[in-house]
Assembly symmetry: C2
Homo-oligomer: 175 residues x 2
Amino acid sequence: MKALILLADGFEDLTLFLPWYRLREEGAGVALAAPFLHAVTGQRGYAVEPDLAIHDANPSDYDLLLIPDGPAVERLRQREEAVDVTRTFVESGTKVAAIGHGAQLLISAGVLDGRRVTCSPGIRDDVRAAGAVYTDEATVTDGILLTGRGADDLPAFAKALMALLGAPRRAALAT
Amino acid sequence: MKALILLADGFEDLTLFLPWYRLREEGAGVALAAPFLHAVTGQRGYAVEPDLAIHDANPSDYDLLLIPDGPAVERLRQREEAVDVTRTFVESGTKVAAIGHGAQLLISAGVLDGRRVTCSPGIRDDVRAAGAVYTDEATVTDGILLTGRGADDLPAFAKALMALLGAPRRAALAT
């Protein structure tokens, strides 16, 4: 299992680190891609070094695309290579997971028509205008596409992400 | 499974949120305890509302004590009720997990003599002086006591925490 995460300055820190480290906990390979090979900084100040530039990312090398929340997404959607990578994942039927404002990149890629999604409440009108069916839920899975409402819903998002990736659920912790 | 997390202003944000949300993902109950019933703020600015004051926490209600990293621990170790709660967990054989500077509270509780631990490198001399056997590893589990080196090692910490709590490992994600 190999995942690609799209980043730019202003990512929402928890919505990067929690899924990233959750995937690493499961032994998955994870590559961080940013517009340039410079460190990027989250809204809360955590800095991370990208592994590659987005224009060097080959979607067929990965089993999952993950887009964290944050103002970073408005930066990413203005970059053609980020929009192209996102469209390629969806059109090739590869799994895609977007949290909060991550859905803005899905709008720009033109892949939301007829899809059931959730997102940050402030962009619900935009996902509807893009043809998606919006629901105010912690997470929504529609085929290959998993969307999460935001950082507060990360426990449910992690569970849904594991289900999307086909990891069998283990027994709940003893009570 | 019910966990108690000890917090004060200056907790290291990721070392709170990752284990906290990981436990919630598994369906565990988690209570956040702070010196007072005011919101506490992490080093990076995430604010959380405690569920209870530490002096109202009854260790026998819980199966796990978790102490996140951060300068918060120097605040906690100056409060008798936080030291007492920590000592009670260890002496009653209940599981305890401490990340980074979390070991400072274990020093103040006087429970490290003869224990194998890891911790933030800047306090390794202090844990040695308290009688512990320090190793520079991502995580160390010694009986009921799990210690983690810091935020960068959270994927390994989450794995070790799940093992400590007795959740069976599921199969790795397909490659």
